[in-house]
Amino acid sequence: MTQATNSLPTSALPQSGASGKSGSGLQGSDGSVEVSGLTVSYTDSKKRKHTVLEDVSFSVPSGTFATVIGPSGSGKSTLLKILGGLYGAESGQVFIGGRQITQPNPDLVTIVFQDSCLLPWRTVLRNVALPLETAGVGRQEREDRAKAVLELVGLGDCMSRFPRELSGGMKQRVAIARGLVVEPSVLLMDEPFAALDEQTRYEMGEELLRLWDRLKSTVIFVTHNLSEAVFLADKVMVLEGRPASVGQTVDVVFSRPRDLGLMVTPEFHMLRDQLYTSLKRDRIRSSGTYSWSHQGNSEEGTQ
């Protein structure tokens, strides 16, 4: 299964002429993310208020690959939902490309979910074209654009398959293609590779970097996995505390393009261990309230 999903062609982008892209989303458009004083609460069924995020502030320059890590339940998915305009904050503001986010903006920001969330009754091609369809793009153009993105993620010959005929990794690629088809300035990814086996997970990460290298949109990538967070990022943000806020921000300066060989270098380990220690401290501080459910992942890079 892993074998079949592993090769994203490194060949050139589809010619922009053939793809019919407007080029509006990616080139030149501002994908900077500014978050200030964000506080978010949920009300439970007994009408009690739970504050999940408190006074979260950070900024991500346009074209940056940022990762967010934090223990399970710390509010990572919640943060992405707010950035995607799916959920309203109690206070604080989110600006993307200078526009304040109060509702979904599918042409500016798209989300790739952990569960690929493909519609089982649509072919791969029609799943990818869905965002364009809802935006009212004509049939021919949306098919051309969906095909171009599918070529890009290496699924050029699976376009007429149904989701159930794909492996987990392939489904996730379709979901990524669907996220990219509208050429968003910012791509939000909520643990997109969490359901994949370890090998596939890192390979998908490597491919994602290659893809991002061409597209240069801003990516905010949530993960449990420290190695993944460090490997992918320009910038790692750690959500800690309860309610959570951004505790630590680490700039990752490893040169690009990166390949999986980076993961066995001492510098990589040092950085990852530094993050691990900070997370562990946080877990001990708030003893028992958090569970670092993917604890095993912290050891992955050292094998």
Binding site: L86, L119, E133, T134
Partner: protein
């Protein structure tokens, strides 16, 4: 492919399907053979069980004579109208009920309980009252015929709307789908299988409803023909008409089953 487990495991494919078809053919042959043996035995008279030949010729007559063809046409119009209204209105109401009921579970439960009670009540006993209230024309028969079908369709579409996953909803919201787009792109495809199942049941109820209405408040239609043949002791005509109606129901049922099967193949 063959090992793919459908969520709708009752949809038969492969060998099971073949056996079912074989069983159906054998059953028809057995019934006809038993019928034949009965008519040549001395156990029943031809007034009780008509001969195969006379029944067959009465079926041919029903399908060829203008006055009986007219009955068939009247019933068909009523069935088509009742079924179409029950389907479209039922799916529409059910969608609204299911969607609204996500916020107001109490309201949804009360309405569904009410519909369940209405479905369980034999509306047959109200037929004379209905005739007094609204008369006995074409639309009255349609209304009577669709009453059970529309309830079944509403309940099943409501359940389907209620079970559209949170994932699909978040997806729809993140792409800013309109209510209309959500209905056509998410709800209809995801509800298609349970709704087609409900369509089959609805069809049976609509046929019974229309036949009953015709028997009691009409002077045309297959229900009326059956009723008249019964009162005139025209047994071959009676049995022939019953067979025509039953064959229609079986054919429609098979058609829906065919849809279910072909949908089940891509709708995992």
């Amino acid at each position: 492919m063959t090992t793919t487990k459908s969520a709708y495991t009752h949809i038969q494919t492969g060998p099971t399907r073949k056996y079912t078809v074989m069983f159906q053919i054998v059953a028809v042959i057995v019934v006809i053979a038993a019928w034949y043996l009965l008519t040549i035995s001395n156990l029943v008279t031809s007034d009780q069980v008509p001969g195969l030949g006379s029944t067959f010729s009465s079926i041919v007559q029903i399908l060829s004579r203008p006055n009986t063809l007219h009955d068939l046409a009247v019933s068909s119009y009523e069935l088509v109208a009742a079924f179409a209204i029950a389907t479209i209105a039922g799916i529409g109401f059910g969608f609204l009920l299911g969607e609204y009921g996500r916020r107001r579970a109490g309201v949804r439960r009360v309405i569904e309980a009410g519909l369940g009670t209405a479905l369980a009540t034999p509306k047959f006993i109200f037929l004379p009252v209905l005739v007094l209230l609204i008369g006995a024309g074409y639309w009255e028969k349609v209304v009577y015929g669709l009453s059970d079908g529309i309830i079944i369709m509403t309940l099943s579409a409501s359940a389907a709307a209620y079970t559209v996953g949170e994932n699909e909803r978040v997806l729809a919201r993140s792409y800013k789908m309109s209510r209309f787009q959500f209905f056509w792109k998410i709800f209809v495809p995801s509800a298609l299988l349970p709704v087609i199942e409900a369509l089959r049941i609805s069809m049976v109820l609509v046929i019974s409803g229309v036949m009953l209405a015709e028997m009691y408040i009409s002077n045309a239609g297959m229900g009326f023909l059956i009723f008249k043949a019964g009162t005139e002791y025209n047994v071959p005509l009676l049995v022939g008409a019953v067979i025509v109606v039953a064959a229609l129901a079986v054919a429609l049922n098979s058609l829906f089953q065919f849809f279910e099967r072909s949908l089940g193949n891509w709708h995992s």
